[in-house]
Amino acid sequence: MTNPAATLPQPSRRVLPGFGLSLGFTLTYLGLIVLLPLSAAFLKTAGMSWHDFVAAVASPRVMASYRLSFLASLAAGLVNSFFGLIVAWVLVRYSFPGRRIVDALVDLPFALPTAVAGIALTTIYNKNGWVGQYLEPHGIKVAYTSIGVFVALTFIGVPFVVRTLQPVLLELEPEIEEAAASLGANRWKTLTRVILPELYPALLTGFALAFARALGEYGSVVFISSNMPMHTEITPLVIITKLEQYDYQGATAIATVMLMASFSMLLLINLLQKWSRRYHRI
């Protein structure tokens, strides 16, 4: 006879019960909602020969669209990280009349249908628009150029950075800054050596979210961009164009490339985040 205790499952060392059950739910949920549609895209692509795949994903027109999509999303993510940090800082650290309204405004790009955002931005930035009429005489064209694409992507990315940073900033006590000051750090030093290291992980997450969202954005960009192949055509539009031509395989092939690229970038950002957490702990 063996010891009955040995045949019993090892008692879990976790304090909270229900790990198995909740992990099961997590996997099922992610599987159904996220992985199933994604694997459909992969399967459709798997039916292509290597030659067709390369022809579909590496034609000059598609390459030009990757360049625009990735660069504009990157620029939009960076700009949002910088200004989003300032917005979050102001909203958390200061109280002023109308703060709640400003706070609510931050979420608007989430709620607004992206087509509405695109049409509104185009109306404002075209040569007769409120802003466009002052820019155009100086030779700055926004609507129907790649700058317009960048403007739309920035617009939809704002809330991601602000909302990721706010809770972290709330946790960050002003006393730490005071301590830094009393220990002789000047303001710049306090910012770069005390505050920012605490914020890096959240800032990276915010950037990653804004960047990823911008990569996939379609609705607002098609209105403000002139949609010229090779110049102002974003990758999601190329995918839609392929679908309109019943080229399902070509469309999913490009989608697969985008997925892989986004996934590896997000993974990289997560690793960076882990690294920054480890090395910037005070």
């Binding site: 185009t122 010229m228 019943y246 070509g250």
Partner: protein
């Protein structure tokens, strides 16, 4: 208590949908600019059907880019009839979904196109750039608005009309390709559909000339005023035939084959033709066409079959990936 509040609307909704299901319902899946046409025509046909059979009928409309609509039907949108911008899109429904037979276009008169249209120019009042014909569109400094032929049925007609003009004038395909390339160099914005292009031209005030469906141009004139825009008829254009068809598989399943066929046949009747003409589509019937002759000026029209050997061939040569349209942009 809350549940009781919810219960009533749920029951009411169930009863309402149950009642609606008793009368016959048709779904007409159509392309972008036909909204106004089918609102009028549906009203007329419902009255006609009630008068002849005594049956109540509801007709739903769905509009969007022609290719997108065809894809919807292929993917399972329960359309009893489709009324699309070009035969290639209905061919695609046969090819990819087999929801109707291959020879669908022979089932109704005139290539299954009860009304036609053509491609014309819309310019700003007074025609400041002096645009009279296709040649003026390739001049430097003229900005031309036309949608992307990859996504828009109307844009494909625009492109082919320009090609046909150059081919007739200069004789060779090379010359035609050079002409079309020069034309697209003057295009600042490629919208995805015909309506989008009209908006760009009319409301954003971009461009000197919009290449457009005749019906869309006339509608723009009606909606935004003759004091702002003018229509210019080029010397040569293309006969645009937007075809109609019953989707057999759906109609059979829903038991609507008879009424769906009658619906499309009614487009060829005097009343159907009148409604088409009033909505700026060129009627097929000679008597009705004669009546509206002042609305639709005569111009030289080429056909897709005569000039390009049918849609399948035109699609493959010009608009498929790696086709001539792609070359225009990749060599730019």
């Amino acid at each position: 208590m809350k549940l009781r509040h919810l219960l009533f609307p749920i029951i009411a909704l169930t009863l309402a949908t149950g009642a609606a299901a008793k009368s016959t319902e048709l779904l007409n899946v159509s392309y972008d600019p036909t909204r106004e046409l089918y609102v009028d025509f549906n009203k007329a046909f419902i009255a006609h059907w009630k008068a002849t059979t005594g049956e109540d009928l509801t007709i739903k409309q769905s509009h969007g880019g022609s290719g997108k609509q065809a894809r919807g039907v292929i993917d399972g949108l329960q359309a009893d009839v489709v009324t699309l911008a070009l035969a290639a899109d209905i061919d695609a429904i046969y090819e990819h979904g087999k929801q109707l037979p291959q020879d669908w276009q022979k089932r109704l008169p005139d290539n299954s196109t009860p009304y036609t249209s053509t491609i014309v120019f819309l310019v700003r009042k007074g025609n400041p750039k002096g645009i009279k014909d296709w040649d003026d569109l390739v001049k430097p400094g003229v900005s031309v608005i036309t949608p992307n032929p990859k996504t828009s049925g109307g844009a494909r007609w625009n492109y082919l009309a320009a090609w046909a003009y150059a081919k007739h004038k200069q004789g060779t395909d090379q010359a035609a390709q050079a002409f079309v390339t020069a034309l697209y160099k003057n295009v600042p914005v490629l919208d995805s559909g015909a309506r989008g292009s009209t908006t760009t031209f009319v409301q954003r005030e971009i461009g000197d000339v919009a290449i457009s469906w005749e019906n869309e141009a006339m509608l723009a004139l009606k909606e935004f005023g003759r004091e702002k825009f003018e229509i210019i008829m080029p010397s040569l254009s293309i006969l645009a035939e937007p075809p109609v068809a019953v989707i057999d598989r759906v109609a059979k399943k829903k038991g609507t084959t008879a009424v769906a066929t009658a619906y499309l046949e009614y487009l060829y009747s005097d009343e159907g033709q009148e409604i088409a003409a009033r909505n700026f589509y060129r009627p097929r019937k000679p008597e009705i066409a004669a009546k509206y002759a002042s609305t639709f000026p005569k111009l030289e029209l080429v056909t897709i079959d005569g000039e390009f050997g049918g849609w399948a061939k035109a699609q493959k040569t010009h608009f498929a990936d790696g086709g001539i349209f792609d070359e225009i942009y990749q060599n730019k």
